[in-house]
Symmetry: D2
Subunit: 304 residues, 4 copies
């Protein structure tokens, strides 16, 4: 039984084995960004991959990790287009952006930091509806905090707010884990399958999905860490396959290694800058998607 944790659907498919029943995978490239779409169509496929049924899109661009300004812009633009496509048709009800994770745990802080840079407008409609720009769409945004800090499940807070604010959709942002070091800080995953228990760097306990919340839930995140135990096991399997020695592997030894690594993560030394860039890319994409009639300059001026 494999214990290779990743929040990316594209990494949960065994390599060289994309022909799983109930799963469809498409690749394309645009503006220097590699796009991968994984469609998980059946419950059986969902069980096999350990991911909920739905559509998962991954945008990858290694130059983003090198902090290339053009690459960041291309990612933001493409992400904005894909978010817009995945969200339900427009309406007057607000979109609620939810920043998941813990602001004070750097590798888990992407959600709250992206929310900090999201343009919120709902209050302008509430306060001075006659002055609110007709081209603006209603957006609100919260960072509910994590269970250990608030004593309240994220789902409980989000459910309460959905019940009173009646958003037309939820857009959740979270820090993700990956298997491949090359995707840390250089990929973004977008899905309509919501947020699953045990996913994210902060390990959510309960689902945030259309089923639990009654509104469409789109989730977007960037991998910021690899679990160290996953990295070690991956390294060992790579090695042992090469030697056809898999059967000789001492499972006990593996367990010991993984126990010692516990909740250790693998991440770039510059994790702070990575999170800052990722929050900027995702927030820019969100602002584009949620305010299609405002220009970049108008959004920047309203953000100040």
């Amino acid at each position: 039984m494999r214990q290779l944790r990743t929040d990316l659907a594209m990494e949960s498919i065994p390599p060289g084995n994309e022909g799983i029943p109930g799963v469809q995978v498409n690749h394309w490239e645009t503006m220097g960004v590699n796009m991968t779409e994984v469609l998980i169509k059946t419950e059986g496929a969902a069980r096999d991959l350990g991911k909920s049924p739905g559509r998962y899109i991954t945008l990858e661009c290694p130059a983003v990790r090198q902090r290339d300004l053009d690459a960041r812009l291309a990612m933001s633009n493409l992400l904005g287009e894909e978010i817009a496509r995945m969200l339900p048709a427009e309406g007057d009800a607000p979109v609620m952006v939810v920043g998941l994770g813990n602001r004070f745990v750097t590798p888990d802080s992407l959600g709250p930091r992206a929310v900090d840079r999201t343009l919120v407008t709902r209050h302008m409609f509430q306060e001075l509806p006659e002055y609110a720009d007709r081209r603006m769409r209603s957006v609100c945004a919260i960072a509910p905090g994590v269970l250990g800090v608030t004593g309240v499940e994220t789902l409980e807070i989000v459910e309460s707010l959905c019940a009173s604010l009646h958003p037309r959709a939820l857009l959740c942002v979270d820090s993700l884990s990956a298997r491949s070091a090359s995707r840390i800080g250089s990929a973004v995953q977008l899905t309509d399958a919501g947020i699953q228990p045990g996913s994210g760097v902060g390990n959510h306990r309960r689902c945030l999905t259309r089923d639990t919340l009654g509104v469409p839930v789109v989730a977007v995140g960037m991998p910021t860490v690899i679990y160290a135990a996953t990295l070690a096991r991956d390294a060992m399997e790579t090695l042992c396959d090469a030697q056809s020695a898999d059967s000789a592997l001492d499972a006990v030894e593996r367990e010991l290694l993984e126990a010692e690594l516990g909740d250790m993560i693998v991440t770039p030394r510059e994790i702070d800058a990575l999170i800052c860039d990722a929050a900027g890319i995702i927030a820019t994409g969100i602002n584009r998607a949620l305010q299609p009639e405002l220009t970049e300059e108008e959004i920047a001026a309203l953000m100040d």
Copy 2:
């Protein structure tokens, strides 16, 4: 008509004039802390003072501003006792601590920072009720953010959470304004009258009271600023009274001065350290009040 803004009930009483009908004022001193209790008993008195009916207690200790460790401890202990006295009798439902204000606006960040240092326990009862220490009381804590950042009124968020979490009381923490420079960073006010519109450094739009929320609301705060226009007017009035020249004051000139000062505040240069100390004093008082059966050491160990 006077425009002297202060969130402290004790400062809204004209000096030398404590015998207002419907208002009762008591002073005492304990452990080096000066205590003032203002009881506003009638709607008429409330209108006159610009404060809601209720009980207001102010603890003052100038040594706190000098960062004296013993003075801080005395304040925390007394505050804890007074909070415990003001809260309703114990029960199984949680107390919800609410940190008002904006974490990213230093003079307005006291609420969120006090919440960061509040011991939350509600999730321990939810997850492993059989292991939860019987001596613990259930506490949850949120910092809902401000309207301009979330697009949602604080009251809307708190109302939603009250409806789903059914707390037995709310304990709100906020940055306050004062009139006297000597009270900045050295006084704490506690009241059962809730939070009023226009109060606090962040200027709440709508009430958080027992009436609007259906549960008892206790509010605690420390003055962190004087509004510059209030300071200027106070200085001018002091001067002109002394000269019996009040009638000669040019109201237009006053208005100009106040307009120029706009939303400027008066605060110590060391505002960051002041907020940090205040958050510690208030959180310590809250933890004492809400966990009467735990020792200081147990609280410290659970906070880590």
Copy 3:
């Protein structure tokens, strides 16, 4: 004797009295920015104004305080031009940018935060001189910290570094005090007179000037605070002049007010955002001045 503290030379000139011997004042306007040049030419004039002899230029633009993007850009550009004009002719030795003040005291943190956003290049010449872009100029940058935090006078640290790094000029950045509320967050002062004792929000003890350091010292800063005692005295004097009652003012009463106000400052509630904007404007101006052959995009890419 007047105790009206301001770090702006233009505010130290009595209003309506610009014809002081040894002082020359010029006003002009460009790109929506009001420019004021004060030349203090004699030791007598310096004594009268409480400012060292030299050239002081103030750039003012109220829209900067309203966070207008175009106004910020105009300020940065003009500031860059004036810094370039005030610095000595180019050479191979580095310009040393010095961020004065305390990073952890928000109103005093402008210097360190501007330094964080300054492009440093000296190490590129040291490490890989053959690969360093010929169009780059050598720049190093330090934030030496304040006396209470390091136990070392700023002048001692800067002197030591000058002795070993041999910069061709120093460019000091500091938080300033002003008298007029309208200049907080909306003006920048630039001078070749260096940094004087008692100036700045952090109150430097000893001079940073060409005399003490042996190299040209250019100082740039934005007013972030008014001292509360200055504001109160200004308000009182305005009032009393109007009533021709100056002589009747009780000096004792004034002293009491000022004593109570102590080190209180007047500042906008949004001091954090003001400092962030100011650091950006000043760092952009510095980068333009010190890297005249690089484009804005090249500077941005090198900063990452």
Copy 4:
């Protein structure tokens, strides 16, 4: 040739092979803390271990990682005693505490953050020598920043300050790397061998030693990371030794893995809290060692 990076001398000794010529290793235990002393006595031994000659003491206590308050206190006390023993005899000249690393790169920020919590006193002797407490020792402290941020080598800054301040010793604090996950956040190393090139999380380019600086240099640090390439190679070697398959290992494959991991680090998810605790433990130990005649309470009061 092995590429297993660690800053801990005790981890550079091959396991089961402590009898290297020129190296002496001692173990003992006190107050629940495991102490290991490594003496590297010859240049040959230094070359073999990749560590400079000198004395290295490691204090280990797993309960520190679990944030146990008593364990933290025991570590601080023992560390204080060992620092005091390693520093030269007392004198009037100050001890200079140097916080190495980058404040804005969380895993590399231990040095600056420990310096923030170090009691500095040198300025009290300089300013009011007649009032300075005779029991205080002179201490100054700087966090010079890293090359990429200042454009100046750490050694250049420290050399300049040594030349002008004439400290009697340097006490450098740095974030370290380790090989064993069990030592991250739970061990402290202290050495009189100074700081070597390539050591620390920030990778210093040049030595800070008695030879380069002319004064005794004591270095103290806590491991905050494992280099991911070291972890992967360690995992592979463990595995292959067990299978006696070392010779079969494809070196090319190893290189590829290590290249992909690049500068990735392995660290606990709660890296922010770990750094905060570590800075507290080390600063407390430093304050004890440098102020032997002050009580804990006096130090706390002076720190405020």
